[in-house]
């Protein structure tokens, strides 16, 4: 037992292993990992290290999927996320994707801290995990079903624990191994990025249902209730959280458009003339049907719009369907494609959901295709249809082509934007970072550096997009070195949040001193310094694994396009970016070469003694 970090809830230390090849499962006690790394990202990194052959084919049976929750899951509000780790078929390197819905609560309530999935089934299966058992169920009939909605509906009626279960499933995109296929959970949340859907598809794993109910022992229940109330109040009353509840994440559309940071038409522009039509405000006022929450999150940022359409063949015959909209799909399938028609945008988002694709990667892939078509690098032989900015009906058709892959071009596009750009000579305007398609911010140097140096090339790794927006209020933009130092420190701290596992939206609530307080009633006594140090440790472990998986600095490509289109900080200077990157390389090598960090630990220990 770790005296600093004892985990009283022994069930959190239980890791469920499932071997799809042999149709076997077993549980191993990995409490010591949780006592060292809290859970989530920290533990998933170690489990992946233990299980994953470094040269694994991401779509081969040797790839491994880890789902992990943490010590705060099912304990405190907004500790609502599950971390998935795997080898990414999109980048060929470390894959990490986070999702909410009911996944985190369901996994912890089923009695596990993590689930490790290995091997591959020869027939389609889905897994039903509850009451200490894993059932392998035939999913042959579900394979090829048109919509992820239908898959959810079918499983919902066949499986136990309604209300406290998660149904994580793939669509046809995952079955057809589109390298940016997503895993959909609770209809509207996603393990979206880096192709977990394709990994599940390669294992012939259609879905995972997991759920249950149990108690979690708390040594100091009085203190627990006290801290719970503080966090609950902060989550419900803080202005940032209120913003996410009211308008939802698309509140950013107008904000970013105003400052000129909204990527439009493959980032040939930083503003979109029809931004008002796809803004959070407009969607909320005219299309919003209901708001829903991830489990144990009182904020409820998930916004669901109604699509109401009249059938052409019969009067007064309407269909009302529901689709969730967030900022990222609104950018990727809206402004990035020049789609300014409100209903058109919702229809396009719906199609991406039905197929089970990552919205960001899909939008960027289609945007690249449109520009390549306009430039004549590809023609109708490749695209079959005529991609045109704003033409959402054609884009819906193209989304289906990405999934069905009727020709060589779409087969390549299904491998990712970078793969297509390499083949058809359009790398300069391929908006990918480390092989991953860009998120919806063109806010300045830190934004793009953040995508590139982030361990999973997500804007949420280190929030460079937010950094740039804050820096607009300051006279002087920081030096390249300072930017990198700040981004790396942020990424290190976020390892703690994603190990607990807390939603990044609540980062303002879960400040270091609050995390310290939240852990105390559970018997975990860590200081702020120790937590931060642990964050660096996890960050280091992750990067070490990335290097072992073949990460190299020459893959750190910044697309030329980001220099061509003005950002709110003006033209981005290539020399600045280069300087920053060479400093990053130095810093990351220092980090993984340990001695400095160990010195820091010694220093902190000495400090604590005083």
């Amino acid at each position: 037992m770790n005296p600093l970090m004892p985990i009283i809830d022994r069930d959190l230390g239980k890791v469920l292993y499932i071997d799809l090849t042999r149709k076997k499962y077993w549980v191993e006690d990995k409490l010591e990992l949780f006592e060292k790394y809290l859970g989530g990202t920290g533990v998933a990194t170690q489990l992946l290290k233990e299980e994953l052959p470094r040269n694994a084919d991401p779509l081969g049976p040797e790839n491994v999927i880890v789902f992990a929750v943490g010590v705060l899951s099912a304990m405190y509000p907004v500790a609502s996320k599950t971390v998935a780790m795997f080898k990414s078929p999109l980048t060929g390197n470390l894959g990490e994707s986070h999702a909410g819905g009911r996944s985190a609560i369901a996994i912890r309530m089923a009695g596990y801290g993590a689930i490790v999935i290995k091997g591959a089934s020869e027939i389609p299966v889905y897994l039903s995990i509850h009451n200490g058992k894993v059932e392998f169920k035939d999913a042959s009939a579900l394979w090829g079903v048109r919509s992820t909605y239908t898959v959810g509906r079918v499983i919902r009626e066949r499986e136990p624990w309604p209300g406290t279960r998660a149904i994580m499933r793939i669509g046809r995109a995952g079955e057809n191994l589109v390298r940016y296929a997503a895993v959909v959970t609770e209809t509207y949340r996603h393990f979206g990025r880096l192709g977990l859907g394709a990994v599940m598809g390669s294992k012939k794993l259609k879905a995972i249902v997991v759920g249950g109910k149990r108690k979690i022992p708390v040594p100091d229940a009085r203190k627990y209730r006290e801290v719970y109330n503080e966090i609950y109040d902060a989550a419900v009353k803080s202005p940032a959280m209120k913003k996410y509840h009211d308008i939802g994440t698309p509140v950013n559309v107008l904000v970013l458009n105003t400052i000129g940071a909204l990527p439009t038409r493959n980032l040939t522009s930083n503003r979109f003339e029809n931004a008002a039509n796809i803004s959070g405000e407009h969607l909320a006022e005219t299309r919003l049907a209901r708001r829903v929450a991830c489990s144990h999150c009182p904020v409820a940022c998930i916004h669901i719009a109604a699509i109401r359409e009249e059938y052409p063949h019969e009067k007064y015959f309407y269909t009302t369907r529901y689709v969730s909209y967030d900022y990222e799909p609104t950018y990727a399938l809206g402004s990035m494609l020049g789609v300014g028609d409100t209903d058109g945008l919702l229809r396009l988002i719906e199609e991406v959901e039905i197929q089970g694709l990552d919205a960001m990667s899909t939008g960027v892939a289609l945007a690249w295709t449109t520009e390549a078509y306009i430039r004549g690098l590809i023609g109708k032989d490749e695209t079959i249809v005529e991609p045109t900015w704003g033409d959402w009906k054609t884009y819906i058709q193209m989304v289906r082509y990405i999934v069905d892959q009727p020709n060589e071009f779409y087969k390549t596009l299904a491998m990712g934007t970078e793969a297509a750009a390499k083949k058809y000579n359009g790398l300069d305007f391929a908006l990918t970072f480390g092989g991953n398609e860009m998120p919806g911010y063109h806010a300045g140097p830190a934004t793009h550096l953040g995508y590139l140096i982030g361990a999973r090339h997500s804007h949420l790794d280190n929030a460079g997009y937010s950094y740039d927006q804050k820096k607009l209020k300051e006279k002087q933009y920081p030096t390249p070195e300072k930017v990198i130092d700040d981004l790396m420190a942020e990424e290190a701290w976020r390892q703690i949040l994603s190990s607990l596992v807390v939603c990044f939206f609540a980062r303002g609530v879960y400040k270091p001193h609050v995390v310290v307080k939240a852990l105390e009633p559970m018997g975990i006594k860590l200081s702020e310094d120790q937590l931060k140090q642990l964050g660096w440790e996890i960050y280091k472990e992750k990067y070490k694994l990335k290097f072992e998986l073949g990460y190299t600095f020459d893959k750190l490509r910044l697309p030329k396009r980001i220099y061509e289109t003005l950002s709110p900080h003006g033209k981005i200077d290539p020399a600045f970016m280069e300087k920053a990157l060479s400093y990053f390389k130095k810093k990351i090598l220092e980090l993984i070469e340990e001695p400095k960090q160990e010195k820091q630990v010694e220093e902190n220990k000495a400090k604590n003694k005083k």
């Binding site: 209809t187 149990r214 108690k215 829903v292």
Partner: protein, 137 residues
């Protein structure tokens, strides 16, 4: 008088499915998780259709009490029942008898979990789906 109050679901259309009430109910006991929660939220056939809140509705003449073979469930003033755990043998008849499915099960103790209408959950409902109201009974 506290015992004449009852918990009511004011409007399930306001429910966002955050489960804060369920966790609050379980926190009445010195533990985390959901084992002892007497209130349950589930979707009405998927998140797109909204939610339903399942909890004891304080029947004036509760069927659960009528089928209890040991007299462990005693009708409560204001509706609903009070469980005497010492008498309960965990047969589960009460759970079968409740048409709302509002009797939950504590698998550790093998006993029913039934709302006592204390209203603790009400304070944790961010959207006023729940309320505690005076009964006229």
């Amino acid at each position: 008088m506290a015992s004449t109050k009852r918990l009511v679901v004011v409007d399930p259309d306001l429910c966002v499915g955050c489960m804060s009430c369920m966790f609050a109910c379980a926190r009445r006991f010195p533990e985390g998780g959901l084992a002892k929660s007497a209130i349950h939220v589930r979707s009405v056939g998927g998140f797109e259709r909204g939610f339903t809140v399942v909890v004891c509705r304080a029947c004036p003449d509760p069927p659960c009490a009528k089928v209890c073979p040991t007299g462990a469930l005693v009708p409560r003033k204001g509706g609903g029942v009070i469980l005497n755990p010492n008498k309960c043998i965990g047969c589960g008849f009460c759970r079968e008898a409740c048409p709302f499915g509002a009797i939950f099960w504590d698998y550790d103790e093998n006993k029913p979990v039934i709302c006592v209408h204390c209203g603790y959950c009400v304070d944790y409902c961010p959207h006023s789906v729940l309320a505690l109201e005076e009964t006229k009974r």
